[in-house]
Amino acid sequence: MRNQFICVALLLCALNSACGLYFHISETERKCFIEEVPDETTVIVNYKVELYDPRSNGFMPSSPGIGMHVEVRDSDDKVILSRVYSSQGRISFTSHTPGEHVICMYSNSTAWFSGAQLRVHLDIQVGEHAIDYANVAQKEKLTELQLRIRQLLDQVDQITKEQNYQRYREERFRHTSESTNSRVLWWSLAQTVVLVCMGFWQMRHLKSFFEAKKLV
């Protein structure tokens, strides 16, 4: 009975997780996704890999032996997560610096050539979407209304973080523009100086040259 239930549950889970976005990659290919997130934001990635089965011309629902190497880099190109997961996995990380986080996935296959096709189901949830409210309601014993308010609070929180990040990015943008501005200014000054120096040197040099050659 228990086993039966677990079987049914697993089957339903398999069916359940089969929906959502998916794409195809070859076994040796590397696929990267970029998530631009503010700091202290949780990102949850769910994925499931299916191997192409040439016999049935379809994809095997479960493919043991296929592992996925997942690598997460933050905006400073620092690795914050690099691990090999099985064919199905759930990765969650929290950003500590704001910016573009790159999530790269590639299979651990040892095929030399392109190998077989893989189908990857992917689901990425960021920020307040990543919160599991059923869990929250159960743990904190919230009523329906409290849960709604809780969700609103989380959203406002996310918006505040995003705005802080926006301020940070604006600062960076302004910095770049100011740098361009000062470079253009200094360069134009330097160019004038170089031009005057060059002209002066040319005149002097030619004059002394002509005098030496007794041309003038």
């Binding site: 009975m1 228990r2 239930f5 677990i6 049914v8 549950a9 697993l10 339903l12 889970c13 359940n16 997780s17 929906c19 959502g20 976005l21 998916y22 794409f23 696929k31 990267c32 996704f33 970029i34 998530e35 631009e36 199905q88 759930r90 992917l122 689901d123 990425i124 960021v126 599991d132 059923a134 309601a137 329906e144 209304l145 849960l147 709604r148 308010i149 969700q151 609103l152 959203q155 996310q158 918006i159 995003e162 705005q163 926006q166 990015r169 960076r172 943008f173 770049t176 361009t180 470079r183 253009v184 360069w187 330097a190 160019q191 170089v194 060059m198 030619l206 050659k213 007794k214 041309l215």
Partner: protein
């Protein structure tokens, strides 16, 4: 979706001590819950589209489900990309050639796998950074909220309204963030180019100045016999 699965197995683990009767109940309830649950998914991500490449994403959509599709190119080349959206029969339901930003809302006419393809075949050098937002179905309700179909109190309706507006704010923020990214990347590029060009220009100015003198000197020194000729000029 996986979290739901996790919970179900957790349920299975905790109620192991309980009687078989409870088991049956959980089983029936679990199946009912899963049956009721529609394939709701929303995913937004940004990916790197290589030059000369075409990347496709697939999404299974049930009949009569509304879906929202949005894309925005935030960096690379002229910020353009080819986009096609195909229904399960392979018929093109939406197409854009070399566009930067657009959104499209549709209701699935048939159940099946819908394909969204991004093409960059026209550009041989520049790769593109593309943001995609693909929402299928309505947003899943909070657990325990829609179980009883009673009239909503004013508190509930206003909280729902606030929730909707906050969602709109978040979408607007995302849009502006991407627009800002476009501008910032342009500015970075400009800064870099100004730097390189100014260095090159200074170097070439000095080189040309020196070269001019050398060439001029050569006019007067190379032809020794004609020095008298020049002297008369």
């Amino acid at each position: 979706m996986l979290s739901n699965c996790h919970r179900t197995t957790m349920n299975a683990a905790t109620s192991r001590q309980n009687s078989t009767k409870l088991w049956m109940l959980t089983l029936v309830a679990g199946i009912a819950a899963l049956m009721q649950m529609q394939c709701v998914s929303g995913v937004e991500f940004t990916f790197d589209l290589a030059d000369n490449a075409e990347d496709c994403f697939y999404e299974e959509i049930k009949r009569n489900t509304s879906a929202y599709f949005e894309f925005q190119v935030s960096a690379g080349g002229q910020l353009d990309v080819d986009v096609t959206l195909k229904d399960p029969q392979g018929k093109i339901i939406y197409e854009q050639k070399r566009s930067t930003f657009d959104s499209y809302q549709f209701v699935a006419e048939t159940s099946g796998v819908y394909t969204a393809c991004f093409g960059n075949q026209f550009s041989a050098f520049s790769h593109k950074i593309v943001y995609v937002d693909f929402q299928v179905g309505e947003e899943p309700a909070l657990p325990g909220v829609d179980e009883h179909a009673t009239v909503l109190t004013q508190m509930e309706t206003s909280s729902q309204a606030i929730h909707k507006s906050l969602n709109d704010i978040l979408d607007a923020q995302t849009h502006h963030r991407l627009r800002e990214a476009q501008g910032r990347k342009r500015a970075d590029e400009l800064n870099h180019r100004v730097m390189i060009w100014s260095t090159l220009e200074t170097a070439s100015m000095v080189l040309i100045g020196v070269a001019l003198i050398i060439i001029l000197r050569n006019f007067f020194t190379d032809r020794k016999p004609s020095q008298v000729h020049y002297g008369r000029l």
